[in-house]
Symmetry: D2
Subunit: 250 residues, 4 copies
């Protein structure tokens, strides 16, 4: 159960996947929620059953981002929005993949923090939850996505230092591969996307939502700084050898 | 609630602090527990109220460790035992501090894994919870304690790789400063110990037990690899300057 | 001495500081250099003494970036360009600081890699040197700058995985505070900037250039993946306490 | 060239491999060297050609360690001694492997620091070089060796904090797989050992010695904190999937 000191929340990327799952949990606990997404179709349907606020917003539109978010004062910020474009690596990513994914995965996250966190500091209460990734913690194939999630890891850790003494808490959730529509967006090739998301028992959005609910349930004095969660059948690591046919001898 | 696939547990360092708090949680959930400690006074008192097994064992006694643990087959291993000796750093630690703390904080942990984990692998079920520390994740003053908890961090991460495909899960809990008798053991000077443990709202053993219960509650498919938890008023980090009066110019 | 397999190099941010110092070293070793910067004043002066190519380019201009860099084929890429805007943290950074620094510190670095690295892969030879920072490795005060350099750290590590088997090497240099014009750009307040850059024996640009030359001097078989260098009087770390006057008790 | 402020050095594990290679470099630069090893055969032969001191010592003999090292006052400590026993992981390691490798790889390193570093602090000059490993930085198969090298990583980082303001510098070298007799000691099975050390262009002891010489060559003001070096054909990382035939569904 979410700590009773929190009454309201903003969720970015709330329209589907982990954000949507978390939204439903928040609503069950009577949190006043602002659910932000570019695609609000599922949100509009949910709104027919339960009351909450929808913000239709493409996070690459920085002007609108500040305009919309400057109105809000919330206790919880779940900066969840992210995109897998470029997840196949720098060699395969297009110029557009790089631009859009950097904008959404890092820049809009910083703008969102800028728009929301100072009010938490002033209000001397708040909890920021950032959506990291295993890709932000360990070396892996994607220079683009890994770099962006690596930024989130360091943003979370530095924000905690920056907010020292403010009573605002910061949690980073770092999941492994999760059954969402991430892969469909990340890979152009549908067969590849399907393969990426099969062959083992994947994490599901509700597993990740559980970690967020746990972090938000703690007493104020204790801060869950980081939760790393992966499929039990997925283990980051190893120091593989990639022999080259024609090594250079000097 | 602990996942129903787990029926039994071994807790090392169960006689006090985080281990003792976790023991009480396990018992509340009807887990068959083997509670191991060198000092079993509190355990003997608890045994009068509720049924569980006590193993009186000094973990520096490797022969007895293997003798006692070779008899056990458990679903959960909470390798919690640790000692703060040497926490003031290499310059202040004695030879004895180094020997005993390395033996307890690292070597006995590896022996415990050696004695218990192969049976989990054979049984194709199990959950290992390792007690890390912020000191194992970030640079801080103690070369001795930090080094030892740094070992635990890497043990947890490598054990996960080693157990890939075995169905056995591995979780590492990395707490910041917690209200236990750690400081009394870590500092000879009682005033220092008291100061170390005051001046802010410390974590308590039950905060840490909450994280363990959460990790053990997850579905099998999802593994909580790491939880980093610190007092909200404690933030690892910073890149401080230590000016030297007489820098060397070459 | 730079490994003889390398004949040419592109340096971004070559107009001053670490980039300029490295440029001079490369020229001394007869490397054909493309020196890229927005401000080419110092480069123009140097060109009067020694022959090399200058590319006048603001890295926020992505069109021009691809236009200029698509012409080049080099053995060494030193992706050094970076800006300290926002280094005071998210609470003090302006919207502009966030936009421009994300564009330069991360996005343009990815575009530069995209423009240059595939040709190295095709040519089966190359060495990418990325400019990280202590701020990318450890939690510290700046959410903005730290996040961006955290991205570089993960970019470097993932690029190495992505380039496995390609014969292209990747090195990340992570310096602490260095006597350059970084602080002047990072802090609006000149007194603050001066204070940031005094009080201890700072690293100098030539110390960092030494590390780059060392990494480039190694035999092909051995890759200097990361060099972390800090002022001897500067040590990242510590787990400080920030007591709050009015802690929340639930 | 080693910084002129250093005149003398202690090398542990100097009898072969990286230690021996570094010894020869030190002697070439007229450093007064104390070369410590359990097996001094190669050292005795070298002594016939060039003058230096040999300390015959098994580092598991803590009494003798303190007795011998308490006599020394050196400017450089290269704590290089280490053993690969247990490198196949906790499931394959024997009780003896765990005991001996923990003793040598961690405990004796702490004792060596305890015996040598306080004199450096008093003398206000010194440089400690610690032998880490990729295995100490990234998750990989060996719980035993990885844990021990993880300890060294955190020892190096915390020692730097502990020695802040003392003028003593601390460098950690983290190599990947290197052509030494490591594998022969690490694997009982000679075929396995051979396989471990073939199939790609391995690092050689001289590559590692180069990094040490570089770190010791820097001006006093700049500290090479960490150098990570791997075979160009070896890249830590990846987030592999290990599907289980019989996943548990709860």
């Amino acid at each position: 159960m979410i700590n009773k000191i929190y009454k309201s929340a903003l969720i970015t990327g709330a329209g589907d996947g982990i954000g949507y799952e978390t939204l439903k949990r928040f609503l069950k606990e009577k949190i006043i929620v602002y659910a932000l997404d570019k695609n609000v179709k599922k949100l509009k349907i949910l709104q027919k059953k339960i009351k909450f606020n929808v913000i239709e917003l493409d996070l690459t539109d920085t002007n609108k981002l500040y305009r919309e978010l400057s109105k809000l004062k919330v206790d919880i910020l779940f900066a969840n929005a992210g995109v897998g474009r470029g997840a196949e690596g720098i060699l395969k990513a297009s110029r557009d993949d790089i631009e859009i994914s950097t904008k959404i995965n890092i820049e809009s996250c910083l703008h969102t923090l800028k728009a929301i966190v100072p009010k938490m500091v002033k209000n001397r209460k708040g909890h920021v939850v950032l959506m990291g990734s295993l890709a932000g913690l360990y070396p892996q194939i994607s220079t683009v996505y890994g770099g962006q999630k690596g930024a989130i890891h360091r943003i979370a850790q530095s924000l905690r230092v920056e907010l020292s003494g403010s009573r605002v808490k910061v949690t980073e959730i770092c999941p492994g591969r999760t059954k969402t529509n991430f892969a469909e967006a990340a890979f152009e090739d549908k067969t590849k996307a399907k393969k990426f998301m099969s062959g083992f028992t994947l994490l599901e959005a509700k597993d990740i939502a559980d970690t967020i609910m746990f972090a938000l349930s703690t007493r104020w004095r204790s801060n869950i700084s980081t939760i790393e969660i992966s499929g039990t059948e997925q283990s980051p690591g190893g120091v593989p050898i990639y022999p080259v046919k024609d090594p250079i001898l000097t």
